[in-house]
Amino acid sequence: MKKTIDEHEFGRICKEVHAEAPRLLQRSNDDSERTELLLKTVFEKVCRHLDINFERQADALKEDYAFALLQTLEERMEPEFLYSTILDRELLTAL
């Protein structure tokens, strides 16, 4: 059976990445790069939680890590939750 992710777990991952953000972003001044770095890190952690290979998953979706994260959440969240709200609250507005 495919593993799923719930709101609580996703919130925990976002908080974790938020705590790592100063280290992750220390060398980047570019807004797109900073957003992508954070979303890629969230994507890696989400994939680890779901027991899927993050590179293979991104390849399968043929897109950048940002979209790959969102689509993976679409496919594996259970029960449904507003993942954008959590991303905004915990992560993107802190950039």
Binding site: E36, L61, L70
Partner: protein, 241 residues
């Protein structure tokens, strides 16, 4: 129906505001324009915080949204190659209660808000073009508001897809279901139902967040009058005077 225009060799000129500038004026502004890549979810500005940059999208699509205290989001408008994100700055303010983020990844020209203010103070061609664009944007916001009140989810979805199709300049783009729900103010089940019915009718293909426009003509037929009204207004604003 007039669709938005894309595709000249200078990427900046894929943006209709920049393309409408007299050549000498465009050359003068060029050093203040920086080409940037925008990725999905990238925040351009947050609610009530100083706006640092304005953006002239080439093939990216950005959304201005209203955020509620409980985290719910509703789209106010989308901006693509027909315009500029940052009319707030143009209209003399430095912040807005709305937030803006990239909804479809792509490229845009970015200008510092302070540079735009300096340009506006000169009352030159950019000022005049942005006044016309702002009129088009106001009509787009008003017409979309009316559309959301009066028309069916399928018609609204068709309008939104046609506008995005025009702006990205390609038949395929990615969009999650959550985005579509937020943009159209619909429930997830409704969006899913509409996408399935459009897919069955051969208008689009929607797989794993990837939307392909299969039959644009049929999509235009499925759409309400609002798409045409918005396109015509933007077209009128940019028509040679």
């Amino acid at each position: 129906m007039e669709a938005y225009v894309t595709g000249p060799s200078d990427p900046n000129l894929a943006n209709r505001v920049l393309a409408a500038l007299p050549h000498a004026e465009y050359e003068r502004l060029l050093p203040r324009l920086k080409t940037v890549s925008l990725i999905v979810k990238q925040v351009m500005y947050e609610q009530n915080t100083p706006i640092k940059y304005v953006y002239f999208p080439f093939n990216a699509v950005v959304s201005e949204v209203a955020k509620m205290k409980n985290g719910q989001i509703s789209e106010v408008t989308t901006i693509g190659n027909e315009g500029m994100l940052g009319t707030t700055v143009f209209l003399g303010s430095d912040r807005t209660p709305l937030a803006a983020f990239a909804q479809v990844a792509g490229q845009a020209a970015r200008m510092k808000a302070s540079d735009l203010r300096a340009e506006i103070a000169q009352d030159g061609p950019l000022m005049k073009i942005l006044l016309r664009y702002t009129q088009g944007l106001m009509v787009q916001i008003a017409q979309s508001g009316a559309c959301n009140q009066l028309h069916s989810p399928k018609q609204r979805c068709a309008r939104w897809l046609l506008m995005t199709h025009d702006r990205v300049g390609r038949d395929e783009f990615v969009l999650t279901q959550e985005f579509l729900c937020q943009m159209l103010g619909l429930r997830r089940a409704t969006v899913s139902e509409v996408a399935s019915s459009m897919q069955r009718a051969g208008l689009i293909r929607y797989t794993r967040g990837r939307i392909s426009i299969i039959d644009r003509h049929a999509l235009e037929t499925a759409c309400c009058e609002c798409y045409g009204v918005i396109c015509a207004e933007h077209g009128r604003m940019f028509a040679k005077k």
